[in-house]
Structures are given as C-alpha cells and as structure tokens.
Amino acid sequence: MRLKVLPPTLRKNSRYLTVDIKITSPISKDDLVTIIWDACIRFKGECETSNFYLWVMKFYDLEKTDDYYHYKAIVRCQRGFVEEVRSSLALVNRHEGRKISMTVVGLSGTIKSSQKYI
C-alpha cells in the first residue's frame, strides 16, 4: 500500500539546479548520483547533507570534445540549502582518478523552467 501524498503545506519546497558537467571519460546517470552524494557528504558532512533532499531529475548527454565529455543534469535540492549544494558540487575535482568539473549554471523553482539552461 502506498502512502497518501502529503498536502502542499506539508511538502518540502524544492529548487532545481542545472548542473554543467565535464569529465574526461563517459559516465552514466547512476555515476552522477554517486558523485553528487559523495561530494555533498565529503564537504558538508552526513548530518547537513540529510537536509539537502537531493535527487537527480534529468540527465543529458550533450557532446564529446577533444578534452572532455560534456553532460548537463537537473538536480533537485531543498529551498534554503542551495548555497551548500552549489559549493559542494563546485569542489568536485576527481572521480575514480578521472578529472571532473561540475558547476551550477542555472537555478529555478520548476523543472520546466530549469530546462531553458540546457
């Protein structure tokens, strides 16, 4: 049996971050989930990360250049914790020995409006 959906006043408010990802070898959406969780836990700790309400909503494979594979993703986080998530993602440097760069290029209140940054 599924839980009944919470009324809007009891739901958490979300913000959607459009994340620009460059990495030297290809990754999947599952890899990205691991990278994001690891980054947040490493920089802000387990207790603080529990507030972030993180979820990778969409994952876009954009292009491959000479230097890197280019992806974008829409990541959900809780309103009020945007700066914490942004800083954690910005400090990602390596993943399994591969160079990676993540930076937030857009911030929106809905998934639809965050797609304009893709």
């Binding site: 490493r42 910005a90 760069s101 937030v104």
Partner: protein
Amino acid sequence: MFFDLNIQGSGLENNIKMARQASSYGWDHINFSYNQNDFKQALTLKDELHENLDDIIDFDFTLEIESKNINEIRKTANNFRSRASCISVVGGDLKVNRAVVENSKIDVLSRPYLNRYDAGLNHVLSKEAVNNNVAIELCFKDLLKTYLAPRAKVISNFRDIYALHAKFNFPLILSSRAESVFDIKTPQDFVSVFSQTGLAHEDIEKSFKTAFDILRFNEDRDKMILKGVRRVDDEA
C-alpha cells in the same frame, strides 16, 4: 562585475579556451598570470588574443613573481612595473610575506598561507598591507585540489585571514588560479564556496571591486608623483 586576476596563462590555444569558458559562465574580466621567466614571451601573445577575444571578454596579464629572494622580488617588480597591469608575489615564506606587504609597488600578496601550518599573516603584516595598499589573494584552486585534512587546514587558514580582514580591513581579492577549463566555475558557485567557508557576502562583493580598483589604479600609476598626487592632462 566579476573579476578574476589569476588564471594561469599557458599557450595561445589554451588561453582562448579558458577565456571563452569564463565568458560563457559570466565572468567579466580575467587576467592571465605568468611568472617572471615567461612574462615577456606572454606579452607577444597579446595581439593574437585580442583578435580572438575582443568581443568575448576583457583580459590582461598579471606578473606572478615566484622567488624566495627578497632583492630579486624587488628588482623584478621595479623592472616589470610599467608593463604589467597587476604584479603579484607568491607568498608562504615569512620573509617574503613581510617584504611584499611593505612594498607599495607590488599589488598583491598571493597565498600567504602556502605550504605553512598557519595563515602566514598577523596583525603587523595586516597593518603594513593596509598602509601600502597591498591586497591579499586567496585562491579557489587551493580548496579545489585538496581534500579531507589538507582542505580543512586550508579553510582554517582562510578563516584566520577573514578574521584579520574584518579587523584591519586590508584589501582582499579572491581568484581561481585556474589551469584549465576544468578549474573554471560560475561566479555564483565561486561566491557560494567562499561564503560557505565563512566570508560575508559584502566582503566577497568588495573583493571583486578591489580587483577592479587595482587594474584602474595601475592604468594611472605612471602619472603618480607621490601617493595621492597625480599628474592630469586635461586643462580645466
């Protein structure tokens, strides 16, 4: 206005890539930094860079002096003063930190905490930095390239410098020291990281203004006769 006075310069192609990336992320001005051995060679790239980047982003060159010899630092600064829009010296050595904050011909003391167990600054150096208008530079790359205990120590050193900045109000600038497109972030991410380490938003905004002021001051530096006295051309 988002200014980054320290992007590690290299070849023409890499510089163009980094400048385009910085522009697409929202930076307004970048300075490519070269050490004293490569600076003259780097100035020859200026025209080609202007051809490629004129409509994209403002750029200039920073001379980054890396030496532990105080006399060499002084001589190099005097030698390149008219050719560089910004002169910074890599700190870390206490003698170098002291000599740099006492020299008004130098604009920036970069990373006074480098390879140290403390911040490399105290109240005496802070007062000298204020008197001689020497900015203290903190680099994003030092946070980015470290992790766990070393990163915690870098953040701790940053916090000591923030405390001295709050008390003595010396010029503080923040820069990325990016070496490739992987090290360039959006200005908002850059601000978020420093605000998470304990720097107030007003101080971060002021740091970008300080970078702008350094470049503007150096445009007129050759017209300075004394501190506070400048030769003007217009006959009003």
